[in-house]
């Protein structure tokens, strides 16, 4: 039992570290503060620049096959790169959805010509992709979506609305699931496409989040035409294709998600409470221990996952617990941070109180960690059903034509 890299892994790690040391700044607590609330041209340019460098150095598309323009390496290489990258402050967020989910779907279901056209340009950071899945009527229950696709000659005509589309306002392309048959049961009537976001009839409206930032959007489709050649999978097989997208959620196991115990310790060390430094307070210490145990438990679970990957095995189900542990931890930790700051906990200005600002940012972004990409409740269902083998939820919508399925308040 050890944490040593194999010789090849160590070499790969060294090359990743060399690349990062030359090209990026080390991560600092302050560097985590307020990543731009809006994707300004500067922020996008910085991200593009970084992605281009990564590609040139061979650290983009690490696990993608060569036919997609990738490096053809194994998942362990990706994990090693991510672990190294997590120690640096790099602007990579805008590409995660496209490179992690959209392009792998296009490459899996598309033609070689389509792979040649889209994959490498995306890897180089020249085109950004978004995921047009969720709708007002279908989030957790994605297959309840109602944006319609109607065949018209060589095209499909799309009408309806998507929501929560991250980055739609700066993306050139998107993948979209639509309903092509309202008489079929809900999972059977879907069809999947990709489209140019500049197509006539696409209207993008930013949504302001609780943090004040606007990273996601509503996207309206008004007689938008998509050529049939941009259909992925068969007509009616959209659900199957969607699963490719959802299963390609990239390994995030190397990186760190937001603030953690170190930042809280830094805060608690510097704050005086009624009985001395916050770090000496028993209630505060009790919480720190809880978060540390959760955080370490996850880290060592990742080591177990890495061990499986390193041997070329499929990771066990322990790799599915991360999101469920991290989201609530981030939220509770930021709430406690504000408590510890007492009345000063209201201050959000990073110039006045930098650590307070960092935890405010977490307070206001952590709710999304419990919703996006599968809510806490959906994750628990997944663990209960797929890991523990408990029965699926009772379904009132199965085998019923979609247009007969009860709907709630879908604003």
């Amino acid at each position: 039992m050890d944490f040593e890299d194999t010789k090849e892994e160590a070499e790969y790690r060294a090359s990743a570290r060399a690349f990062l040391t030359t090209n990026a700044k080390p991560r600092t607590g302050k560097g985590m503060l307020y990543r731009a609330a809006h994707a300004t041209e500067d922020v996008l340019a910085e991200a593009r620049d970084w992605q281009k460098k990564k590609h040139a150095a061979g650290f983009a598309g690490i696990t993608w096959p060569k036919e997609w323009g990738g490096q053809g390496l194994s998942a362990i290489n990706q994990v090693i790169y991510d672990q190294e990258e997590a120690q640096f402050s790099v602007p990579r967020g805008i590409y995660e959805i496209g490179l992690g989910m959209c392009i792998p779907t296009v490459c899996t279901w598309g033609t070689q010509a389509q792979r040649d056209r889209y994959a490498v340009t995306a890897l180089k950071g020249e085109e950004v992709w978004c995921q047009l899945f969720s709708e007002p009527a279908g989030g957790s229950d994605l297959a309840a979506l109602r944006t319609s696709a109607v065949r018209d000659g060589d095209d499909w005509v799309i009408n309806g609305q998507k929501i929560w589309t991250s980055g739609a306002h700066y993306c050139q392309y998107g993948v979209i699931v639509t309903r092509s048959d309202f008489d079929a049961p809900k999972h059977k009537g879907l069809t999947y496409f990709f489209l140019d976001m500049r197509s006539p009839g696409v209207e993008i409206r930013g949504i302001k989040q609780i943090s004040g930032a606007s990273h996601f959007n509503e996207v309206f489709f008004n007689n938008v035409r998509i050529p049939d050649s941009q259909r992925l999978g068969k007509v009616g097989d959209g659900w199957k294709v969607s699963l490719t997208t959802l299963m390609n959620e990239r390994f995030t196991i190397g990186g760190r998600a937001g603030v953690d115990v170190d930042e809280f310790l830094e805060l608690a060390r510097g704050i005086e409470l009624e009985d001395g430094p916050a770090l000496k307070n028993p209630t505060v210490r009790d919480k720190i221990a809880d978060w540390y145990v959760a955080s370490r438990g996850l880290k060592y679970s990742h080591f177990r996952t890495m061990t499986a990957l390193s041997r070329g095995d499929t990771p066990g189900p322990e790799s599915s617990i991360g999101k469920l542990v991290t989201g609530p931890k981030l939220q509770n930790m930021s709430a406690m941070a504000l408590d510890v700051l007492e009345q000063g906990g209201v201050i959000t200005d990073p110039e006045v109180a930098p650590m307070a600002a960092l935890f405010h940012q977490t307070l206001m972004t952590s709710p999304s960690a419990r919703i996006a990409g599968g809510s806490d409740e959906i994750m628990r269902n997944i663990i209960a059903e797929r890991v523990l083998g408990l029965p699926a939820d009772v379904r009132v919508d199965k085998d019923v034509p979609f247009n007969k399925v009860p709907t709630g308040k879908a604003k």
């Binding site: 177990r304 890495m306 322990e318 994750m379 628990r380 209960a384 408990l390």
Partner: protein, 371 residues
Amino acid sequence: MNFDFSDDLKLLKDEARKFLDDKSSPEVVRRVLEGPDGYDKALWNEMAAMGWTGASIPEELGGAGMGALGLCVLAEEIGRSLAPVPFASTMYFAAEALMAGGSDAQKKAWLPKIAKGEFIGTFALAEGPGKATPKRVRTTFRNGVLNGEKLPVPDGTAANLAVVVAQTDRGIGLVLADLSHAGVKREHVETLDESRKQARLTFANVPGELLGAAGDGERLLALIEQRAAILMAFEQVGGAQRCLEMARDYALERYAFGRPIGSFQAIKHKLADVYVATELARSNAYYGAWALSKNAPQLALAAATARVSANEAFWLAAKENIQVHGGMGFTWAFDCHLYYRRAKVLAVANGSTRLWKERLVSELESANAPG
């Protein structure tokens, strides 16, 4: 990265599971729980014959030389099966104390007997309710003899050998005592989990030998508690895993409102939470195992992390297992309470969650000291 047990140890674990499924069934556990015996002798003898009581003891001292990692995999299976034997007292405490602090002569005198299963060991720290801190220990070791009272002492009715924490002229010391001496009085005390019986031990001028150098007791005590915390964490993970499986199986079989109760989200989500806690505890225990096997400088922090995580996971799993079983879980006839008892006994056997959380944060403070 090779954060896993070797294939040999995994094989050992499989064999241990098969053996214990057969030989440490709930009926066997109940026989000790409901009977007068301190432990199941037949089971203990078979475990010794397989070399388990010498798992971590070096070969030159009559052991199997599997190291700390071998003990970890056995501990997990023992925890899973609730084996009613003095394994924890003997192996995680007495043998560990001897290996950590014993002189060559002491090791040679005792470890081969432990390895053969001839000697049962225990660790005597507590002196009644409350925490026996080094300052508060009243039992004394002066002029080569022990005087005082220890309560409760796990497996104290069966043990041949005790490592007794006592005041010496130079702070507390860890004292080896042969319990066959006439000055030792032992008396069974009723405890929460009678499947591993505990005792009140009284020492009247009982000869003993100090483990380690004079004045080194406090360091040794901390070390043994840390090592035992990690080994015990494996027992707890094994117990938690079994509770999860029992609850899952029952939730699949039991119908209410026309459906298996396992189809209600209140049950599914509860068990998902138990799964998450158990996996976190398992991973933290693995890290502890690594620290143990390498005598790593991170041992203190690894032990605290493993201990807190395992205490919480086993407790959560044990109480929710009863909950999922409804009224049945509240009956003596169902096995849920066996785990519920064991979970709570292990949670205080080597320092409570509260205590280890405090130790954990103290470690973090020094690890993260500015500069």
